[in-house]
C-alpha cells in the first residue's frame, strides 16, 4: 500500500530527501553538533521556519485543495502554542518555587506550593489565583493531548456551525477572520487567565534542563520540527491522493456538483478543517518554545492573512509549493527586516529596506496573483514542460457560457 502511494507521489520522496539533507547539513553546521558555522539564533529561525512550513501545508490542504480560504488558521497555531506553553511555564515555575520553599524551616503544604506558583506566574499581571484553564497545566501528557484537542474542538464547533448553514466563499473567509479576531481580543484580556497581553514567556527554557545550553535545545527542536514537517507532509500527501483527494478537489472546483453527486460535502469539509486545525496546533506547539514567548498579538487576523500570502506565492494546490512559499517569504522577510539588506541609493532618495520591504512584499503579492496564479510552484511545471490546457475562453466573453469564443473563431 505504502509503496503504491509513494510510487504515485514521487514528489513526497523528493521532498523527504531534501528535508533530510537539509536537516543533516544544518546539524553538521550548527554550534551544538557541528562546525558552528550557523549561529544558535539562526538554527532557531530555521526551526521556526519549518513549523511555519507545516502550518502552510495545513493551509494548502484547506485552501489549495478544498477551496476554503480560512483566514483564521493562526488561531489554531496560537492555541497549540498556548497549550504547550502552559505546561512549560507551570513546570519551570514549580521547580523554582520548590527550591525556594525548601529553604524554609517548615515544609510547604501542597496548597502553598500551588499558591506560590500562581503568585509567580500571575503576580506580574495582578492576580495570584489559577484560572480554570490551567487545571491540567501540571501534566505534560494531558497538555500535549490538548495541543491537538483544543484547536480540533474549536475547528469542529466553528466548522460545523459554518458549513451546516452553507456559509461559503468570502463570507467564510470573513467569518474565520472574525473568529481569530475574537480569540485574540479575548486573550488580550487579563481576565482570560492566560496573562493577557504579556502572554506566556520564557518558553525556551525547558523545565529540569537548565544545564542544557540553548544551542543544544535549539537543535533538538529543529530535529523535532523537521520530523513533524516530514510526517505532516506525508499525511497531507496521503490525504489528497486517492479518492478522498479527488472529492475534496471536486468540492473546491464545484461544490454544488459534488453535493448533487451524493457526497456529504459538509462532512468532507469539516474533516479537512479539523485535520488542518490539528496540524496547525502541532506546528504552533513546536514553534513557540523556539520563539520563547507567545502572546495574543500572534493570532491577530493579519498573521493568518500572511499565511494565505505564503501559500499563494508558493503555489496553491501543491504541497511543496506551500512549503517553498512559507520558507521563502518568512526567511526573506527576516533578512529584509533584520537590516542586513543593503540600502539602495537612488541619488535623490535612499531606499532603506526596513521601510520599503512591506511595499515590496505587497507589490510582489499583487503581481503573483495577477500574473502567476500558480506561484513559485508553477516554475516546476515550466521546468517539466507541463502547460495547463486552456479550457475556457472567458477572456473574450462577459461570462461563462458566452458564445463569443466560438464567434471569434468563425
Amino acid at each position: 500500500m505504502k509503496n503504491t502511494f509513494l510510487m504515485r507521489n514521487p514528489s513526497v520522496l523528493i521532498f523527504l530527501g531534501v528535508l533530510a539533507l537539509f536537516t543533516l547539513s544544518v546539524t553538521l553546521l550548527s554550534e551544538a553538533t557541528g562546525a558552528a558555522l550557523i549561529s544558535t539564533s539562526f538554527v532557531k529561525t530555521l526551526g521556526k521556519t519549518l513549523c511555519l512550513c507545516l502550518i502552510a501545508i495545513a493551509m494548502d490542504l484547506v485552501w489549495g485543495y478544498c477551496g476554503i480560504l480560512s483566514l483564521g488558521h493562526f488561531a489554531f497555531f496560537g492555541l497549540g502554542g498556548y497549550m504547550v506553553g502552559m505546561w512549560l511555564m507551570y513546570e519551570r515555575t514549580r521547580g523554582i518555587v520548590e527550591t525556594s520553599l525548601a529553604q524554609a524551616q517548615i515544609p510547604p503544604t501542597p496548597q502553598e506550593v500551588v499558591d506560590a506558583i500562581g503568585t509567580q506566574i500571575f503576580g506580574v499581571v495582578g492576580s495570584s489565583d489559577f484560572p480554570l484553564v490551567w487545571a491540567f497545566a501540571d501534566s505534560l501528557p494531558i497538555q500535549l493531548a490538548l495541543v491537538v484537542l483544543v484547536p480540533g474542538l474549536l475547528a469542529l464547533v466553528f466548522g460545523w456551525l459554518a458549513f451546516r448553514s452553507r456559509v461559503t466563499g468570502v463570507y467564510l473567509s470573513i467569518l474565520t477572520q472574525a473568529m481569530t479576531l475574537a480569540l485574540s481580543l479575548y486573550l488580550f484580556q487579563n481576565d482570560s487567565g492566560l496573562r493577557g497581553n504579556n502572554g506566556l514567556s520564557g518558553l525556551q527554557n525547558l523545565p529540569g534542563l537548565d544545564e542544557v545550553p540553548q544551542s543544544v535545545v535549539s537543535i533538538w527542536f529543529f530535529w523535532v520540527s523537521a520530523l513533524a514537517l516530514g510526517l505532516g507532509y506525508v499525511l497531507a500527501a496521503w490525504v489528497v491522493s486517492g479518492k478522498f483527494g479527488s472529492v475534496i478537489r471536486g468540492i473546491r472546483d464545484d461544490e454544488q456538483r459534488v453535493r448533487f453527486l451524493g457526497y456529504s460535502v459538509e462532512g468532507y469539509k469539516l474533516f479537512i478543517f479539523v485535520l488542518t486545525a490539528m496540524i496547525a496546533g502541532v506546528a504552533g506547539a513546536l514553534y513557540y518554545p523556539q520563539a520563547g514567548i507567545i502572546n495574543p498579538a500572534e493570532i491577530a487576523p493579519i498573521a493568518s492573512i500572511y499565511l494565505a500570502v505564503w501559500v499563494a506565492i508558493g503555489g496553491r494546490g501543491r504541497l511543496y509549493g506551500a512549503v517553498i512559499g512559507a520558507a521563502l517569504v518568512s526567511l526573506v522577510s527576516t533578512w529584509f527586516t533584520g537590516g542586513q539588506a543593503p540600502d539602495v541609493p537612488l541619488g535623490f532618495y535612499t531606499i532603506k529596506w526596513v521601510d520599503w520591504w512591506q511595499v515590496l512584499l505587497g507589490g510582489s503579492f499583487v503581481l503573483v496573483t495577477l500574473f502567476a496564479p500558480k506561484g513559485i510552484g508553477g516554475l516546476f511545471d515550466l521546468a517539466q514542460g507541463i502547460v495547463a490546457p486552456r479550457r475556457h475562453g472567458q477572456a473574450l466573453g462577459p461570462g461563462q457560457g458566452a458564445l463569443q469564443e466560438k464567434e471569434a473563431q468563425e
Binding site: 554550534e31 551544538a32 558552528a36 549561529s39 544558535t40 539564533s41 539562526f42 532557531k44 529561525t45 511555564m89 519551570r92 515555575t93 523554582i96 525556594s100 529553604q103 524554609a104 503568585t119 509567580q120 506566574i121 503576580g123 506580574v124 499581571v125 495582578g126 495570584s128 481580543l185 488580550f188 484580556q189 487579563n190 496573562r195 493577557g196 497581553n197 504579556n198 502572554g199 514567556s201 520564557g202 525556551q204 527554557n205 544545564e211 542544557v212 545550553p213 540553548q214 544551542s215 543544544v216 513557540y288 520563539a291 520563547g292 514567548i293 507567545i294 502572546n295 498579538a297 500572534e298 527586516t337 533584520g338 537590516g339 526596513v354 521601510d355 512591506q358
Partner: protein
C-alpha cells in the same frame, strides 16, 4: 574573556564565534527598537536618540580610545522577534551592550535570552516594576517614581476623593492600577470610589467612558482620572474629553503615557490644565537640557520634540560610558560592578544615581498641558529612589532586590532567602 566563562555550558560552542569579538577595536552598541509595526511610533525616536548620543561620544573621542559602533536591528513590534534579535545581537554581532525595548512584553521576551548569554541591556521606559534582572538596568521610572507621586499629588494638592483609573488593557496599566488601588485603599479611599476601565489598543469610541467618568461626580466627591491609556488611543480620549467640556479644574486627568510626542497628534487648546507625570519634560529648565534639545532639533528638525524615555537613554548611555571607563573594559560583569552608585547629571538639573536594585534615582515632575503642546512643570520633587518591588502589594512588599551585596534580584526579607536569581518572566 570572563564573558565566555559567565555564560552557561554552551559557552564552548559560543567561543568559536567569539574571535571576531576579540579582534574588533570598536565598542559595539546594539540598538533594539522597533522601526516598523505598531510600536515604531514611539521607538524610532529612541533609535535616533541612540545614534545621536553615539555620534556625539565618537566626536569626543569614543570610549577607552575605541570608537563606538551602533548595530541597529528592527524587531518590528513582534515580541518573539525581540528575543531572536537579542540573541542575534549578542551572539552574531557580539555587541557589548544593548539599548532597547519599549513595551513590557518585549522586555519579558528579551529577558531569558539576555540572562542566558549574560548580556547587558538598558531599558528606558517607565514600567510596572515587579522585576529586577541581573542583566538589565532600568533607566525609566518604577511605579513609585511616577504613579505613586502623581496619586499623592491628586490626593494632597487637588483634593481628589474619587478616582477613575482608565487604562489600555495590557500589563503596565493592569499592574499599575493594581498597585494604585491598594495604595488608595491604604490612604482611606473606599473601594467603591475607585472606578476602573480597560480599553483595547487604539480605542477610538470614548463617549460612553467619558460620560461614565462625569457621572462619577454625582455623589459630591471630587473626581480625578488617572490615565494609563497608551499611544494613539489618547487622541480620541482627549478629543472626547474636550468635546464634553470637562475642565481640568473640575475633573483633572493625569496621564502616565502621554508625553510631548503624543500631544503632537492633537490640538491641545481645549486640554490646557490636564496633567502628566514624568521624570522629564522638554520644558525643564536646565543648561544640559537646553543643549540636548538644541542638538536634537539641529539633527532631527525643528518640529521634533524630546520626551522622557529619551532622557532615560541619555542617562543610561552616560552611565554606561562612565562605567566602562571606570572598569577599563567592556566585560559585562566588570561594567556591572562599576555601575552601582555611579552618578551622572540628569536633564532636569539634578543627578541620577544607579542603585543596587538596577533602578535609578529620579525626580518626579508633574506638568500641566499647555496650548502649544508642551508641559508647564508645576511640581518637581527631589530624586526618589526607584523601588523594584512595590511596597503596596502584599506579595511583593516582602521582596527586595540588591545585586551589589546580596547578589539577588528577588530576595524575600521575611524568610531571608533568595527566591530566584534569574527572572523568568
Amino acid at each position: 574573556m570572563n564573558f565566555i566563562k559567565a555564560t552557561l555550558a554552551g559557552a564552548l560552542s559560543l567561543s568559536l564565534t567569539a574571535p571576531a569579538f576579540a579582534a574588533e577595536d570598536t565598542i559595539k552598541v546594539g540598538v533594539l527598537h522597533s522601526l516598523s509595526g505598531t510600536m515604531a511610533i514611539s521607538e524610532t525616536t529612541l533609535k535616533d536618540t541612540m545614534l545621536m548620543l553615539i555620534d556625539e561620544q565618537n566626536a569626543k573621542g569614543g570610549v577607552l580610545g575605541k570608537k563606538l559602533e551602533a548595530v541597529v536591528v528592527d524587531p518590528a513590534s513582534d515580541w518573539p522577534l525581540f528575543a531572536e534579535k537579542a540573541r542575534e545581537l549578542l551572539t552574531v554581532q557580539d555587541v557589548d551592550v544593548i539599548f532597547g525595548c519599549w513595551t513590557s512584553v518585549s522586555r519579558k521576551s528579551v529577558l531569558p535570552v539576555i540572562e542566558e548569554l549574560n548580556g547587558l541591556m538598558f531599558y528606558p521606559v517607565q514600567y510596572e516594576g515587579e522585576e529586577s534582572s541581573k542583566n538589565v538596568f532600568y533607566t525609566g521610572a518604577a511605579p513609585n517614581q511616577q504613579a505613586i507621586p502623581a496619586t499623592d499629588y491628586f490626593l494632597e494638592e487637588l483634593g481628589v476623593e474619587k478616582f477613575a483609573l482608565l487604562g489600555t488593557d495590557y500589563v503596565y496599566p493592569r499592574t499599575t492600577n493594581n498597585i494604585l488601588e491598594s495604595y488608595l485603599v491604604s490612604k482611606g479611599i473606599a473601594k467603591d470610589d475607585i472606578f476602573v476601565n480597560y480599553t483595547p489598543f487604539g480605542h477610538s469610541d470614548w463617549s460612553k467612558i467619558v460620560a461614565d467618568v462625569v457621572a462619577l461626580g454625582a455623589d459630591g466627591k471630587k473626581v480625578g482620572v488617572i490615565s494609563t491609556i497608551n499611544g494613539d488611543a489618547n487622541i480620541g480620549f482627549y478629543k472626547e474629553l474636550a468635546a464634553a467640556g470637562v475642565s481640568a479644574d473640575d475633573i483633572p486627568v493625569v496621564a502616565f503615557s502621554v508625553g510631548e510626542e503624543e500631544l503632537a497628534g492633537l490640538d491641545t487648546s481645549n486640554l490646557v490644565g490636564h496633567l502628566a507625570a514624568w521624570n522629564y519634560f522638554q520644558s525643564a529648565e536646565s543648561e544640559t537640557n537646553a543643549e540636548f534639545v538644541k542638538a536634537w532639533k539641529a539633527r532631527m528638525g525643528d518640529a521634533r520634540v524630546t520626551n522622557d524615555p529619551m532622557e532615560a537613554h541619555v542617562i543610561g548611555f552616560n552611565m554606561y560610558v562612565k562605567a566602562v571607563e571606570a572598569a577599563g573594559t567592556t566585560d559585562v560583569d566588570a561594567v556591572r560592578a562599576k555601575m552601582y552608585g555611579i552618578e551622572v547629571p540628569n536633564l532636569t538639573g539634578g543627578t541620577a544615581k544607579m542603585l543596587p536594585n538596577h533602578h535609578l534615582t529620579k525626580p518626579v515632575l508633574i506638568g500641566e498641558i499647555q496650548a502649544d503642546g508642551q508641559f508647564d512643570i508645576i511640581s518637581q520633587t527631589t530624586e526618589v529612589p526607584g523601588d523594584a518591588w512595590t511596597d503596596f502589594l502584599p506579595e511583593s512588599a516582602v521582596l527586595k532586590s540588591d545585586w551589589e551585596s546580596l547578589g539577588c534580584g528577588m530576595y524575600n526579607t521575611d524568610t531571608n532567602t533568595c527566591v530566584q536569581i534569574k527572572s523568568n518572566y
